[in-house]
């Protein structure tokens, strides 16, 4: 008899996500927003010139996913990630089902890591879907044309497509950090609304911290800053510094969040329900 473990939990967490409306709400929004944006650009060819790449949306479809990433980092993508990550533990409390799964043959830690993997999978899927849809919609509206980098050089469309893919990948780092924080709140609050709102507040507050005089030095170490680190890829030559910093700053947010969440999950009393 094969022993059930984290992978078993992971598979069934995905199965549960597939059966919940919340999952489709998140993925649906992740797809819909770039489509609406593209339609708006097609109808009214103004351009958001105040953000990087905003000037190029009428020249190349490859600018669409990049502009979406920029706008989405303020609250949209964090919300998408928190929607499921903030619910994935609290949902069990809400349904009283923790006692059901914790009295079978999987350890609490395996249940927890299965949930982390499922929440991460969902967040990754949401970002990739959103990016792919934005790219396709953008190409339909503005064509598959060369894209200017932040250094002023011009990349071929094929090279540009690779850079977009790379940017999405780098963007996943802060997204997974947000997911981890949402998991922490989900575990601690045992209430999904509180966890989702709490994660969003946290994300917005971090963006405000730098307004406080004297705290602007914190900027490079804030989670919100890491949402822009992918721009390093769009320089010639590529600037890896912000990306490397994003890797460890995001880890510094994610790992302690998950460690505390795991500790709470292992120790908590499962009463009620």
């Amino acid at each position: 008899m094969s022993r059930p473990g984290t992978l078993t939990v992971y598979r069934w967490e995905l199965r549960k996500l597939r059966a919940q409306k919340r999952t489709y709400l998140g993925l649906g929004a992740a797809v819909l927003v770039p489509i609406v944006f593209s339609v708006a650009v097609a109808i009214q060819p103004g351009e958001p010139a105040d953000v990087p790449f905003g000037r190029y949306i009428n020249d190349t479809g490859l600018a669409f996913p990049l502009v979406t990433l920029l706008f989405g980092s303020i609250w949209f993508y964090p919300l998408i990630a928190a929607l499921v990550s903030g619910d994935i533990v609290a949902n069990e409390d809400n349904n009283g089902t923790l006692k059901t799964i914790l009295t079978r043959s999987v350890e609490r830690s395996q249940v927890f890591f299965g949930k982390v993997m499922a929440a991460f999978s969902y967040s990754i899927l949401a970002i990739i879907l959103s990016g792919v849809v934005a790219t396709i919609a953008g190409i339909i509206v503005s064509g598959f044309n060369p894209i200017p980098t932040l250094s002023g050089t011009l990349e071929t469309p094929e090279q540009g497509l690779l850079l977009v893919a790379g940017s999405l990948a780098v963007y996943l780092m802060p997204i997974l950090a947000i997911s981890s924080f949402a998991l922490l709140l989900s575990t601690v609050f045992r209430n999904s609304a509180a966890a989702v709102v709490g994660t969003l507040m946290f994300s917005l507050l971090l963006q405000l911290v730098v307004i406080i005089p004297g705290l602007d030095g914190l900027q490079p170490y804030l989670l919100s800053t890491q949402f822009n680190s992918w721009q390093g890829l769009l320089r010639t030559p590529a600037d890896w510094d912000p990306i490397i910093r994003a890797a460890w700053v995001c880890a510094a947010y994610a790992i302690p969040s998950l460690a505390v969440a795991l500790t709470v999950f292992l120790r908590r009393d499962v009463a009620g329900g």
Partner: protein, 325 residues
């Protein structure tokens, strides 16, 4: 098998703020027992079962199942299944998928027993429906099915018959009796003395977190004594026969109601029936009165909270049972 007992609680205590939900509970459930955990609302039954299932951490003492500590690893629960309070499932999945889910978390083998378990609890026809639409009794049945697919050696059930219709209650009791006959050890909590009397060989009576009696149900019956109802063709003669008989005491008679008395044992009753026949008072009814065990139960679980009176009762009880507590 000289194995560890299915359940061993030693000084088990759970404190919630000022409330001591479970207070220094020690008991052993042996292999083959159907053990009744009997007590009124808030007595601490569910809390004890939660600790046996590793869901909550004891404040003090320990709970062991088959010698293992469920606080350390779910491995301790390898031969254990059951539920506390109402069984809960994912409302957005159907009954079958819920069972597949818990079976997957048990290991592969459990999956092969799903159909049979659904059949036993008579849910086969509804297995494709979302659990969110199940009635309370159906969820209770699904909970039993979820426990059965684990094929446990020890079944822990928290008020299993609660919320079932009379037919369902009967089926549930029949199922427990059958599982027990097949060798499963069962521990069930209940409010109902009658249920425990019907199913269990051993019982612990709890009140405010403390065990006030633990032992064989037979012993408890003996403690309660046998109160016997008697109706005859000539009660005046019968009263004379009863007076000063060895093993007979507390003879009472209120108007036209049947005579009541206490008998030390069944032999005394046998002797009495012969003496009555000889005296010419023909027996219409000679039957144990069921009320006595019930009375004892209420006495044990409902006292005024007067500590001294309580202690006295307990002393009396443990004298009678030879310190079974």
């Amino acid at each position: 098998m000289s194995e560890q007992p299915p359940v061993a609680l030693r000084g088990l205590t759970k404190q919630y703020g000022r409330i001591t939900a479970v207070d220094d509970v020690s008991l052993t459930v042996n292999e083959g027992d159907v053990f009744g955990y009997l007590g009124p609302n808030g007595a601490g039954k569910t809390t004890s079962l939660r600790m046996m299932l590793g869901l909550i951490t004891p404040t003090a003492g320990e709970a062991r199942v088959f010698g293992h500590d469920p606080q350390k690893s779910v491995d301790a629960l390898a031969d254990v299944a059951g539920f506390v309070e109402a069984p809960r499932f994912y409302p957005y999945l159907d009954g079958m998928t819920n069972l597949r889910l818990v079976a997957a978390l048990d290991g592969n083998e459990a999956k092969t027993r799903i159909d049979e378990a659904l059949d036993v609890v008579e849910l086969t026809g509804r297995a494709g429906d979302k659990v969110g639409g199940y009635s309370h009794g159906m969820r209770q049945r699904l909970g039993i099915a979820a426990a059965l697919i684990r094929r446990p050696k020890l079944l822990l059930l928290d008020e299993p018959a609660t919320g079932l219709d009379p037919g369902g209650m009967r089926d549930m009791r029949a199922l427990i009796a059958r599982l027990s006959a097949e060798g499963m050890t069962v521990m069930l909590s209940s409010h109902l003395l009658a249920e425990v009397e019907e199913l269990c060989n051993r019982v612990a009576i709890v009140r405010s977190g403390r065990i006030v009696y633990e032992g064989e149900l037979e012993e408890l019956r003996a403690t309660a004594g046998l109160t016997i109802r008697l109706r005859t063709s000539d009660d005046e003669v019968a009263l004379r026969v009863l007076s000063d008989r060895r093993g007979i005491s507390d003879v009472t008679r209120h108007g036209a109601a049947p005579i009541q008395f206490r008998a030390a044992d069944e032999a005394a009753i046998g002797e009495l029936s012969r003496a009555l026949a000889d005296s010419g008072a023909l027996i219409f009814e000679l039957a144990p009165s069921a009320a006595t065990l019930e009375d004892l139960f209420f006495e044990l679980t409902e006292g005024e909270g007067d500590a001294q009176a309580e202690e006295k009762r307990l002393d009396e009880l443990s004298d009678l049972t030879g310190g079974a507590q």
